[in-house]
């Protein structure tokens, strides 16, 4: 009798430990996804702050390209002032395209590239562009890990009753995908 009781108690303790482990795993995964998302925002903010600096640094030498520079600033302001997430995503994607064109333009001004402040701004901004895409990539990685956790055993047993749903991946818009293949390589060396 008492042996049976111990076995039952042991099984219950084991189940509780497994439950705690799985639950904590789900919480940690969700937190990771949220952190990854906020990291994207941090990098987008950094991009918004850097663009005016670069435009200011190059505007005298690139007076001929005034229209292009204004368009970049406008795209940047649109992104900053976007209200809904959908609007923001569209504006940011537009801005990505504009920045690529701007980089290509600056590349064609050798005297600009040799200026120290311009080249360091270019490095900073192109690194920020990389950070944005890596932050998105990390977000998708985190989402993928969490979604597998939510959908597979034993997470699936707890997920729905504790409100863990599968998260949404960040999708590169169709229009940008072809542009991604042809991304200009900014070389500052």
């Amino acid at each position: 009798m008492s042996t049976g009781l111990y076995v039952v108690l042991g099984i219950i303790v084991l189940l509780v430990i497994v439950f705690i482990g799985v639950y904590n795993g789900l919480v940690a995964g969700r937190q990771e996804v949220r952190n990854a998302w906020s990291q994207i925002d941090i990098q987008l903010k950094r991009r918004h702050d850097l663009i005016p600096n670069l435009v200011n640094a190059v505007k005298d030498a690139m007076a001929v390209e005034k229209a292009q520079l204004t368009a970049v600033i406008e795209a940047r302001n649109q992104a900053v002032n976007a209200r809904t997430p959908d609007e923001a995503m569209k504006a940011e994607n537009n801005l990505t395209g504009m920045l690529r064109q701007l980089f290509a333009l600056v590349e064609s001004y050798p005297q600009l590239r040799s200026q120290q402040n311009v080249s360091s701004l270019m490095e900073e901004l192109s690194s920020t562009e990389n950070r944005i895409s890596f932050a998105r990539q990390h977000y998708n990685d985190a989402v993928q890990v969490q979604n597998i956790r939510v959908a597979s055993f034993p997470g699936v047993l707890l997920a729905s009753s504790f409100g863990f749903t599968s998260e949404t991946m960040y999708q590169v818009p169709e229009t940008e995908r072809s542009a991604t293949e042809a991304v200009p390589d900014v070389r500052l060396t």
Partner: protein, 391 residues
């Protein structure tokens, strides 16, 4: 690409982290045991030699070498216990120091300094580290630089928060941004899955066992000389006969200690090799996962293979951490902590079924001859002539 990458890059760092934390603990215990054994034997040696010289002459004559050696396995002598306690205590303290500031210790072993953000190449290095850290979801490691034309990089530190990534000025200048990203991706992989904790502890602890063996060797040499000068003139005919036996028995003990001092560094070297080659393959996969670009790493590895990767002597504790093993040393293949670069490239080419074509394999133009670079004081392309017994 998206579908293939979904299965290919679905590696979770957490399992690797758990494995590395466990292995670090095991390793820690093993290295403490090694130092306890060394301490025990040395302490015993000192005690037994003292005993031999203090025994009455007629007892010394009856002692045989076998009996003396068997005493090592007999009831522990206080001196032996003290030796074990001192060395394992010292090992424990050193281990804890390693865990808290192993990265700094290794950085100073390697002669690294903080990267300078005003230098364009080092700025790029700092930026690439931040980019890779974001991709891996860890805080950015501290960027360190070694001034040498040799091509190499390594990661160290007991946790991602305390990690450092060290690169040579040579590799910073030689690599394109894409290649640098792949190299840093490899190192960030080591950081994110706690390889660095394991390797840093191994490197710093194994380094100390080697140092300790050198130190004890010197002490033994010194004390033998001292023993010779200090030995008392024989008081009688009996005593004179006994001192011959005493010297012979002392020699037996000294030879045993000498063997130990050779074996201990070798044992720690074997432990160091347990920084398995598998880790390097895994870090290569991590790099591909973080950059989504195995070709960048292939090009970087080709560059490393063509260039000079010697940043330290191969038996230096740092060498096991590097992205490419410093080459050209005696027995480097046997004792190598790294798989051969062609094998790594072959695995990268076949990663997850993405066949990399010969055309993509073509690396961008780079100088094949390392002589194109100016040689600095760090250049050791001619192998050092002085080598320890284990070269």
């Amino acid at each position: 690409m998206a579908d293939r990458s979904a299965t290919l890059y679905n590696t979770d760092f957490r399992r690797a982290i758990a494995r590395n934390k466990r292995n670090t603990l095991i390793l820690f215990v093993v290295l403490l045991l090694i130092s306890a054994v060394v301490g025990y034997v040395v302490g015993w040696g000192v005690a037994i030699i003292e005993l031999i010289w203090n025994l009455p002459a007629e007892q010394v004559d009856q002692l045989t070498a076998g009996a003396v050696l068997l005493d090592l396995f007999g009831p522990p002598r206080p001196g032996a216990l003290m030796g074990a306690a001192i060395l394992s205590g010292a090992g424990l303290i050193w281990g804890l120091i390693t865990l808290s500031s192993g990265a700094e210790i290794l950085a100073s072993f390697a002669g690294a300094r903080d990267a300078n953000p005003d230098d364009p190449l080092e700025r790029r290095f700092i930026d690439v580290i931040s980019e890779m850290a974001i991709a891996a979801g860890v805080s950015a490691p501290r960027p360190m630089v070694i001034d040498t034309p040799a091509l190499n990089a390594f990661a160290s530190g007991s946790s991602p928060k305390r990690a450092m990534i060290t690169a040579t000025t040579g590799i910073l200048a030689a690599c394109t941004r894409e290649e640098l990203q792949a190299v840093i991706g490899h190192e960030t992989g080591h950081v994110a899955d706690y390889d660095v904790r394991y390797t840093t502890v191994v490197a710093a602890m194994a380094g100390v066992i080697v140092l300790l063996a050198h130190f004890l060797g010197n002490v033994a040499y010194w004390s033998m000389g001292w023993g010779g000068y200090g030995y008392r003139p024989a008081r009688s005919r009996d005593e004179r006969g006994a001192s011959g036996a005493r010297i012979a028995l002392t020699l037996v003990v000294v030879v045993l200690l000498a063997i130990l001092l050779v074996v201990a560094p070798l044992a720690s070297r074997l432990v160091q090799m347990a920084i398995s080659r598998q880790r390097e393959y895994l870090a290569d996969v991590s790099s591909a996962k973080l950059t989504r670009n195995p070709i960048g790493l292939i090009h970087a590895l080709q560059r490393l293979e063509a260039g000079d990767t010697n940043i330290a002597r191969t038996d230096s504790p740092v060498s096991a951490l590097c992205i490419a093993a410093p080459k050209g040393a005696f027995l480097s293949g046997l004792f190598s902590t790294h798989p051969p670069i062609p094998d790594r490239i072959a695995r990268l080419r076949n990663l997850g079924g993405i066949a990399v074509t010969e055309l993509e394999m073509q690396a961008p133009q780079f100088p094949r001859d390392a002589d194109a670079h100016p040689k600095g004081p760090w250049d050791t392309s001619t192998p050092p002539t002085h080598k320890g017994p284990w070269g």
